[in-house]
Symmetry: C2
Subunit: 356 residues, 2 copies
């Protein structure tokens, strides 16, 4: 089957996707610097990877989602060895008993929108224009595919030392529990392949166009620099929720996640106000003395006020001037069933979700 | 290939093996009551399982070791569902790409000398007269096969809920680390298959005859009751190291193991003396005010002084009258290389091994 690509991704395009993915990552999804470094290693000599719409695939073709799992603050220091990805693709093909036709990003993120390109480039495969979240979420069961009844397993995971494991679990929540325990033992991060399914099974649930969107966001950031927060809010029907300086960061690695809070003291129009962001890998809520500005599943992203670059939850530091950008989530996350999976109450926040 | 069996195991014989296995288990290897209950479920209507010498197998035939992994104090309360074992055998055959010719016990123990019979009975396979330790040890890499350079992986594990996992690791120590982490997340115990290898690979390293020996020990116990400790010491060139009452037990579940100490106050010939046993699933050392009576890899086993029944480390209770039986380990454990793997210093005990 000959396929038309939406666009071809070279080194520059992948660098834009890393930036835009980090915005969609909502504070998580891995560090865009790591994503950019990996891109430079893999797309050498003008090599490109085609990004293809899922409708270009026959319903029975196999699609393999790939991601890096773990605590982002570990991932930025514990670089993949490079051998995990070919081992992962080979193992998933063995488990599924057939060849993979395309790679998919499980989530959007600086790292998780780019690492699947390493797999695609190595295997000579295209990558689907979409993902399973339209943002990043901390736990494996938090994908649109769970809403569609798809199973996370068979799943494979490999660490940087060469240890591999596979799972076959009774629920996607159990996949999360077991894989999280192993990720911790593997040193805090691992490369994973899961939710392998046919294009036909994925089509109704895929968040479509998210790689194109990440790329476009990256371009807007390059074009507008410090003004990117305002432009992104206008372009994607979001809002600049707050602007200020980081007054305090509490961050800990716990249970295989990076968890904590960021307190921001208002500046300019937001003077004399203070906002607190809570996070579990991703930002979950932005609150101002009891008033909720935004919560999961809507996207909450920090942008450096001076450069317009995204600041993930594991990178944010005392004193940094930031804009808090809120963007609406993919519509599929706004049903009752979806909110049970990824809404604020799942994470122990005592608030109802109110769309941005 | 038609094979001559050493003996046929029916319900009574399996009950004897559970008792004798618990003696060889050196305080670990799982609860013999659980082993006996499982035996009664599986060997109904006069059904038997043949115990066969490994020399009856061609060098290229595949042998599958099976065990229950975890903290014994969890195992005695969290009974297997029964579905784990067929799932395990099927998964291991898929991983090895071929059929299994016989089942093997990884270790001796009240539970781990009997649970492999469930697998053998279900699959219609014989069981090998031997094991990989000649006793029980707490960690997966502690088998004679590690000395022979055999790899623990591919390994499969299943829990009572139906969750399965497989491993392919860079060392047998890494198999232990990853599988232990998953065992904890699975609730503290899991059924495992590992060290699958050909009869030819196993022959030089197998501890031979240990099922016959467990059976014989069980018979001697039934025959001699409270006098069993003395008879076993005479028969197997061991010694009754101490007799007394349990004065204190400290026990905790930690890192997927049951760990602690047992203090015993001497009675009779041992009046005015006190011995302390330390354990990590299995008893590791018996010490009397700085003097070492016995250490791993030699076997240290507690027998109820009134009944002669073995008392595993997770069952021992305040006030119980006990005999401390020491038995020599299989000779393969007495080399320098073997002592690095299972000797007292590995477990953090600051003593050299001195054979019983």
């Amino acid at each position: 089957m000959s396929r038309r690509s939406v666009f071809e991704v070279d080194r520059l395009a992948l660098s834009r996707i890393a930036d835009g993915g980090a915005v969609l990552g909502s504070g998580g999804g891995g560090n865009p610097y790591v994503g950019r470094l990996m891109a430079e290693q893999v797309l050498t000599g003008g090599k490109t990877v085609p990004v293809v719409d899922i409708d270009q695939f026959a319903d029975d073709e196999l699609i393999l989602p790939i991601a890096m799992m773990g605590a982002p603050s570990v991932m930025q220091e514990k670089f993949p060895s490079g051998k995990e990805i070919p081992a992962l693709v080979a193992m998933m093909e063995r488990l599924m008993g057939r060849k993979v036709s395309a790679i998919l990003c499980i989530e959007a993120g600086g790292l998780n929108s780019t690492i699947p390109f390493v797999a695609a480039a190595a295997a000579g495969l295209p990558i689907i224009d979409g993902d399973g979240m339209g943002r990043a979420f901390p736990e494996l069961q938090m994908v649109t595919f769970t809403l569609g009844g798809l199973t996370a397993t068979p799943m494979a995971m490999f660490d940087d030392k060469g240890n591999g494991a596979t799972f076959d679990t009774v629920s996607n929540k159990w996949t999360e529990r077991l894989a999280r325990a192993l990720t911790i033992e593997m040193g805090g991060s691992a490369m994973v392949g899961l939710y392998a399914a046919t294009a036909g099974q994925m089509k109704p649930y895929l968040v479509r166009g998210s790689l194109s969107m990440a790329h476009r966001i990256g371009e807007l950031m390059a074009e507008h620099g410090a003004g990117a927060a305002r432009v992104l809010a206008e372009t994607y029907k979001g809002a600049v929720l707050f602007s200020g300086r980081v007054r305090d960061v509490a961050r800990r690695n716990e249970g295989g996640f990076t968890r904590g809070t960021v307190a921001i003291e208002g500046t300019g129009d937001f003077r004399r106000r203070e906002v607190t962001l809570s996070f579990q890998n991703e930002f979950l809520a932005a609150e101002e003395s009891g008033r909720v500005l935004a919560t999961t599943p809507d996207l909450i992203t920090l942008l450096d006020a001076n450069t317009g670059q995204p600041v993930t939850a594991e990178m944010v530091k005392y004193g940094l001037a930031v804009n808090v950008l809120g963007l609406p989530c993919a519509p599929i996350w706004r049903t009752k069933e979806a909110l049970d999976l990824v809404g604020p109450r799942y994470f122990g926040l005592d608030v109802d979700y109110r769309p941005l």
